[in-house]
Subunit: 360 residues, 4 copies
C-alpha cells in the first residue's frame, strides 16, 4: 500500500512537533506538507523550529528540509496532502474557520484543537469508545456539501484516563450514575511554555483554566448516541472533576469514585471486563491501536505517572487500585499519556479509524 500523504497544520508548535515525531515511520501516513504561521512560511522546517524543537528525538531527516507553508494559504495544501492534522494555536473562531477551509478544499482534517468540539455535526472521537460516531461524517458532508473533506476532533487530554475504563463497564451493561474525579495533570498538557518552573517546583496548582468544564462535559458527548443527525449527550451520568497541575513532565492521572445506577458489578467482574476489553481499533488492528487498550496493574501502588505513562507506546490506559468506595460504589486510579494518547497520538488513531472505514 502506498502511504497517504498527510499534512500537519501548526507544525512548528509543541503539538505539531509531536505529530512529526509520532508519524515518523508510520506505515500508512507520510508527512508531506507542513504549515505554520506566516512568519515561519518559506523556511525549511528545521530552520523554522530552530531553538524550539522540544522533542527528545531529533527532527526526522526527511522533515528537516520540508519547506513550511503559510497555513492560511489553504490552496498550498492542494495536491500535497490527502489528510491534515490540525495543531493550530489560534483563537477559536480562527481555528474553526481555518479547519473548515481545509475541509472545504477537499482535505479531511483531524484536529487537536477544542474549537470544533461542540459543533453539532463534528464527531469527537476516542476510537475505542465511540467509533460509531464517525457516522456523523456522512451528515457533516451532506450539511456542508463536502465530498472528500471532513472534520473530526479528539477530546481534551484530561479525560482519557477515565473515560475508556468507564466505557468498558457501560458497554458490559452497567449504567453509571455519578463520577467524582480528581486529576493530577502533567505540565506538558499546558503546551509550551506552559507553567513556569517557578510555579511548579515543589508546588501544586489546584486550577487549570477551563479544564474542569471540559472534563465534565466532553465525556457525556462521547458517551452519547447518534440520533437525528446529531449526538445526544448521555446526560444520565453526572461528572464532577477537580483538575490539578502537578510537577510531572508527561502523564495525566485520575483518582475516580464511581456510583452505578441500577446494579453494580462485583470487583472480579470489573477486572474481567477491563482485562478483556477490546474495541474496534484493536479488531481493525490499526497501526497505533494499543493492545490491550486497558492495562490493569495488580500492584498496590500502580499506575505511577513516570513508570506507566509509556505503556502501549503511550497509547494504552493504565488502571489500578480498584477497591470499594465508602461513599460511592468503587474507586480506581487511571493514567494516560497526555501528549501521546491525549493529543497527537489520539488524533492519529482517529485518522487511522477514518481510513479503515473508507472515509479518508
Amino acid at each position: 500500500m502506498d502511504r497517504i500523504k498527510v499534512g500537519v497544520i501548526g507544525a512548528t508548535g509543541m503539538v505539531g512537533q509531536n505529530y512529526i515525531r509520532l508519524l515518523k515511520n508510520h506505515p500508512w501516513f507520510d508527512v508531506a506538507y507542513v504549515a505554520a504561521s506566516p512568519k515561519s512560511a518559506g523556511k525549511k522546517y528545521a530552520d523554522a523550529v530552530a531553538g524550539r524543537w522540544l522533542m527528545a528525538d531529533p527532527i526526522p531527516e526527511r522533515i528537516r528540509n520540508l519547506v513550511v507553508e503559510d497555513a492560511n494559504l489553504v490552496e498550498s495544501a492542494k495536491g500535497k496532502c490527502a489528510l491534515a492534522f490540525s495543531a493550530v494555536e489560534l483563537d477559536k473562531d480562527s481555528v474553526r474557520k481555518l479547519e473548515e477551509e481545509y475541509a472545504q478544499s477537499g482535505i479531511p482534517v483531524v484536529s487537536n484543537n477544542s474549537a470544533h468540539r461542540s459543533t453539532p455535526d463534528v464527531p469527537m472521537i476516542i476510537p475505542e469508545v465511540n467509533p460509531g460516531h464517525t457516522e456523523l461524517i456522512r451528515i457533516q458532508r451532506k450539511n456542508r456539501a463536502w465530498e472528500k473533506g471532513l472534520i473530526a476532533v479528539k477530546p481534551n487530554c484530561s479525560i482519557q484516563s477515565y473515560v475508556t475504563p468507564l466505557f468498558a463497564l457501560i458497554e458490559a451493561g452497567y449504567r453509571i450514575q455519578s463520577v467524582i474525579v480528581t486529576t493530577l495533570q502533567a505540565v506538558s498538557g499546558a503546551g509550551f511554555p506552559g507553567p513556569a518552573s517557578l510555579q511548579m517546583i515543589d508546588n501544586i496548582i489546584p486550577y487549570i483554566k477551563g479544564e474542569e468544564e471540559k472534563s465534565e462535559l466532553e465525556p457525556l458527548r462521547i458517551l452519547g448516541r447518534l440520533q437525528d443527525g446529531r449526538i445526544i449527550p448521555d446526560d444520565s451520568i453526572q461528572i464532577s472533576a477537580h483538575c490539578n497541575r502537578v510537577p510531572v513532565i508527561d502523564g495525566h492521572m485520575a483518582c475516580v469514585s464511581v456510583k452505578f445506577r441500577d446494579q453494580k458489578p462485583q470487583i472480579e467482574e470489573i477486572l474481567k471486563i477491563w482485562k478483556g476489553f477490546s474495541s474496534e481499533p484493536q479488531r481493525l488492528k490499526l497501526p497505533s491501536a494499543p493492545d490491550p487498550a486497558i492495562i490493569y496493574r495488580d500492584e498496590l501502588d500502580r499506575p505511577q505517572t513516570r513508570m506507566d505513562r509509556d505503556a502501549g507506546a503511550g497509547m494504552a490506559v493504565s488502571v489500578g487500585r480498584l477497591r470499594q468506595c465508602p461513599v460511592f460504589d468503587y474507586r480506581f486510579v487511571g493514567l494516560s499519556h497526555n501528549t501521546v494518547r491525549g493529543a497527537a497520538g489520539g488524533a492519529i488513531l482517529t485518522a487511522e479509524l477514518l481510513k479503515a472505514k473508507g472515509m479518508v
Copy 2:
C-alpha cells in the same frame, strides 16, 4: 510565668527534630529533657543527630549540649520535665506501653504517634475542632488511677486540611452526609528517609499505606461526641479518601466534594462561616494558635502548596476554590502544613490547650 520544663521522647528523629525547632523560644514550654533509643543515650544532642539533622535552622544553642537519655528509662525523666511530647518511632505495642509508662510516672504525654488514636479513653484532638474532648482526660485518669499523668494524641497529618473547614460548617448547623476527598501529600509526611528521590522526581504514587483508612476514620472520631466516658464517632458522615504522594517537600492538599444532609448553606454563607471561624485556641490566645484559623483565598488558583503552606506560621488551614459540585453540593481545596499543623505544631497546640485548661 516560669516556663514549664518539657521533654521530647524520640527527639532525634524527624518529628522529634521538628519539636526541637518549633519549641525554640516557646513562651510557655522549655525543652529540658530529650530522650531517644539506647544507642543515642549518653551523647550530647548535637552529637546524637550529627549528620542527620534535617531542619533548615541550626540546632538551638541550648539544646546542642543536652545529654540524650534512654527513652526506655522512664525514671530518668522524673523531675526533669512536667510534660512530654512523644515522637517515638517503634512498633505500636511498644509505643503504647512506653507512653503509658511516662503517664504512669506522672508525666502528661502528648503524642504524634498513631498507637493510641483508637484507645477508648485517649482523646484525639484538633484544638479548633474538639477541644471539649479533653474532658476525656478526667475519665482516663480515673480509669488508670493517674493523678498528673495523661495521654492525648493528635490525628493523622492527612486530615488537617479538610476537617477544620468541614467542622466550621457543621458547627454552624449544617449536617454533612458525604465527603469524597483526594489528597496530594508531601514527601515529608512519610518521615525520613521516606520515598526515594528515584520514586518522586517526575512521578506521582497514588498510594500511601494505611493512609486512606486513617483519613476516613479519624475525622469521625474527632467529630464524635463524648458520652458515657467514651467518644461516640459521628457515623452519620461517610468519607471516601484517595491518598496520593506527590513531589513536594511540605504541605498536604485536599480536593474535597461535600454533600449536606438536610439543608445546605449558600456559597456566601459558607464563605462567611469560614472567614469568621474562631474557636477555643483563638479565644484562649494560645501561643501557637493561628488567627485566623482558616484563611480563605479568593484567587482562582489558590491555595498552592509552596505558596500557602506557611500561612499562620504553618498552623492555619488555607482554603480556596469553593464552587458548586455537579454531583454533590460543593467543592473546595484545602491545604495545611503537614509537619507543622499536621505533626509537631498540632501537638504543641494541644499541649497549650491542656495547659490552659489546667490539665498540665
Copy 3:
C-alpha cells in the same frame, strides 16, 4: 530616627515584589512610592499585581493601597521619596536613561539592573567587599552636577557565592591567580516566568545567556581599585565560569577551584579567615548585614541549596567542603540566596551603607 521615604521603580515585577517584601518593617526605610509601567499607573498596588504576586507572604497591608505611579513621570516621585530602588525591566538604554533622570531630579538610585554596571563613574557594590567604592559617588556627582542624586548598582546574582569568600582571602594578604567556577543557579534567577517547567523538571540546562561573561568580569571590577576617578579592574585574576540552570527555586551554588599567585594559605588559615571575616556592614551594624557574613559549614555535604539558602535571613554566604585541589590549590562550595543577597537584599544593604556614609 524618622524612617526615610523610599520608592520602588518597577515595583510590580518579581524583583520589585521582593523589595516590597524585604522592606516590610525595615527600621530605616519606608516604602512610600511605587512606580511601574503606564498600564499599571493609577491602580492601587494590590490591583496592579493581582494574579501575579509571587511572594509567599501576602502584600504588606500598607502597600496594598499605594497608588502606582507611571515610572516614566519622574516628577511624580519628587517629594514622595528620598531614595529609589530600581527594579525596572526595560532595554538597557531606557534603564540607563530612566535611572539618570531620577538621579538628576535629586533622588539617589540603587539599582538591580545591569545597565549601569560598566558605567565608569557608577560604583558596583558588594558592601562587604568594596564599600570604599562608594567614594566614586563623589566623582559621579561632580561629573554630572548632581547634588543629592546618585546611582549605585549591585552586581549579578551569580557571583555572590564566591566573591566574598575569595575577597576574605585577598584581604588577608593572599593574592589569587586563577579561579574556575561552575555555578548551579536557581530558576528564580531568571525572573518570571523564566524557564518553563517543561524545561526544568528532571533536567539541567547548561547555559544561561550572558551569565558567564558577567560572572567572569564583574568580580574583577568589584575587586578593582579606585584611581583617577574610576575603577581599575583587578586584571591579575583570571576567572572561568560555567553557568548552569538547575531545578531549584532559590539559591545559587558555586563549585570553585582556586589557585594562588605567590604564597598560599594553609587550610586552617583559610578557615580562620572565613570564620573571622567581618567587614564594614558588620562593623556599622547595618540593619540587613548578616553577622557572620560568611558561614562555614563543617559537615561533609553542606552547604545544600534548600537547607542553607536562608542562612542569615538570606544575606549570608554559606561555604563548605574546603579541600585540596589536585590541579589548583584549593576547592570549595559556596552558596547564596539569589533573590535576597543576590538581588533586592543586596541592593538594600548597599542603600544602608550609603545612608551610613551620609550619601543618602
Copy 4:
C-alpha cells in the same frame, strides 16, 4: 549464531534489573541464569522482585519464571551460563571473592562493581577508549591459571561523559595537562533507594561519597598503557573533580575545563575530531555500540540532561558548548546516561568486545 547463555549475579537489585531490561532481545546474549542473595533463592524472578521492580518496562516474559539461584553457590551457575554480569551489592571483599569464584569456575565475569577496579591484572574498560586493555586478560588468566574464566570491569558512571571526548583529542595527538570538571549527577547513580526525595526536591547536594576520588583516578588508569603485564596510569594528566547530586532521574552531566600540554588544537579541529570519532566498538559493529559514539550538539544550550541522555539508545556521549576558557584552553559540557552507558550498558558493550575478540 546461537546466542550465548549469560547470567546476571545480583539480578534483583537496580543494576541487575537494568541488565535484565537491556539484554531483552540482545542478538548475542540470552539471560539464562539469575542469582541473588539467599533470601531470593528458590523464588521465581518475578516473585523475587515483586514490589521492587524499578524499570518502566515490565519484566521480560521469559525472565519472569526463571528461578533465582543463590549467588553464593557458584556451582549452580555451571552449565547454565557461559558469561556472567556481576551487579552484586556487597562489601568489596565479598564482591572480589565472589567474582573470582565465578571466574575460577570457568565463567567470564564482567562487573559493574568497583571492587576490582584497582586489581592490577583486571582491566577496567571503556570500549571506545581502551579496548586494547583487554590484552590484560591474557596475563590475568596466566596469573590465576584460569582457562576460560576472566574478570573485566567497567569504570564509575561519573567519568563517562568526559573521558571519551578527552580521549578522542589525545588519540588525535593532543596531550592533555589539566582537567577541572564539575559533575551534575542523577539520583539513579546512587542505586535504590539512594537519596531521599526529602533531600533532592528543590535541593542540590554538593557531595557524593568517594565519587571525586574515583572521578580523578579511574580516567588515568583507563588512559594508561599496558606494560610489563600491568596498566601504568597516565599520570601526566591532572584531574580535579567536583561531584554534585542534582534532582534528575538519569543522566550525568560534566562541565569541563581542559588545558593542553604542548600544543592545542583549534576549535574547528576539536569539532572535526569529535564529529569523526569512531573506535573499535564501532568498527566491529558491536550490537550495543553507539554510532556515532560522540554526538556534538551545535545548539547553544545543549546537551540537556532529559533531552539528550537517551541519545544513541543511552550509549552515546553528547557534547556541546565547546568554547574558549579564560583560564585553561577550552571548556565544554558532556553528558552520558549513567544507568545505561555508565552501568549495565557499558558492561554489556565490554562483554561484546570480549566476545568479538574471542575471549568469551
